[in-house]
Symmetry: C2
Subunit: 194 residues, 2 copies
DNA sequence: TCCATAAATTGACTTTGGTCAATATTGCAG
DNA sequence: CTGCAATATTGACCAAAGTCAATTTATGGA
């Protein structure tokens, strides 16, 4: 017989996530140790892995929390300029650091179902598609593809630009970033050309 | 004073890579243990890490070897049909498994400089751009962006489709794959529309 | 209230990636 | 050929993720 989730369970999960949040703000995702998480949360190691499949799933949950707060305010863009602002904003969030890029690559698709990240991305795509549909109706954007396809294409460009912007240990990080940025804009223009 | 690379060094590196190749064909990338690699190669653990930064860099080197053999035969596509065949081929190679997708996401950009993967991708992009340039001249493909930009955009779409095709533990893997496949084609058409 | 059992938690233990001071081998100048 | 400095190799050791049998705690029916 299957029972309802205990309040205790949710409380423990929240304590773990809160601990994770604290650590990430101080040491970044790369510096997060599960030992330290359970220490701060006041649980045993096993509890951590009873709640989250592995370290990466935990980080993905933290990232989803954090991105949700940033992405929620972004509504459907009403014109080309607003669209480009949204793309730029999402790109900046996604390219924040190498960990973020890796987590998004791994969990933003169907593989991340149930973690929050996938739904988050879907919502952004839906809002983009909504805006694109209106722009297509006004002839502001080409109608060579359905709005949903265009929206997903734009997300693909953002992911790619974010990945490209992750320059390992080069000194020319700024140049690489600028190039990725420009590429995103040029490709978006090509895709949207009326 | 800096000396020339010893033959011994290259031999050791080759033994490690050969061992890795064997293991991957049997157990896949996820099943590769560094212990087993050095056991088969007949070296100490430390030698492995003297040659490769970490396990992922080693896997990236293996992947680069393997992809090089597959990508080299692909010339510059002469027309739209040939272009779509190349895209499909590259997509299939990249979407082979979750490890491949993750490695490409991490090392195909500037972060993977010197590992071979980045150059491999660049070569494909260059050949695509070459073909696209000719097609643009014939009016077969839209000239809304420079050929190099279009080529990189197409690679972005391939990466995205490959990532989307990685369905964790769902039974509907086939449906997900088909959706990713269709998306790639539709977005490519939108980008190339004359 | 009481008990059977599902669910949650524990922490010692295992696995595995990665380090490093010590050692062995090689290239090269004299 | 010889000695020395650069390079390569070694393997014991460490750090941290992840496991699991045992234990505790909550739930819902009788």
């Amino acid at each position: 017989m299957t029972r309802k989730v205990q309040a205790r369970t949710l409380a423990t999960r929240d304590r773990l996530l809160a601990a994770g949040r604290e650590i990430v703000t101080v040491s970044g995702m790369a510096g997060l140790r599960t030992e330290e998480v359970v220490l701060r949360a006041g649980t045993a190691k096993g509890t951590f892995f009873a709640h989250f499949t592995d370290r990466d799933h935990f980080l993905a949950a933290l990232l989803a929390e954090s991105l949700a707060g940033e992405l929620a305010p972004l509504g459907a863009p009403q014109d080309r300029a607003a669209l480009m602002r949204v793309l730029e904003r999402v790109y900046v969030l996604f390219a924040a650091d190498a960990e973020t890029v890796a987590l998004l690559a791994r969990f933003s698709g169907p593989a991340g179902a149930g973690l929050g990240l996938d739904r988050l991305i879907c919502e952004v795509v839906d809002r983009l598609a909504e805006g694109l549909g209106m722009m297509q109706a006004r002839g502001e954007v080409g109608a060579r593809a359905r709005p949903e396809v265009l929206a997903e294409g734009l997300m693909a460009l953002i992911f790619h630009a974010a990945a490209s912007a992750q320059c390992g240990m080069h000194g020319d990080a700024v140049a690489v970033r600028a190039r990725a940025d420009r590429l995103l804009v040029e490709m978006a223009e090509a895709l949207l050309w009326p």
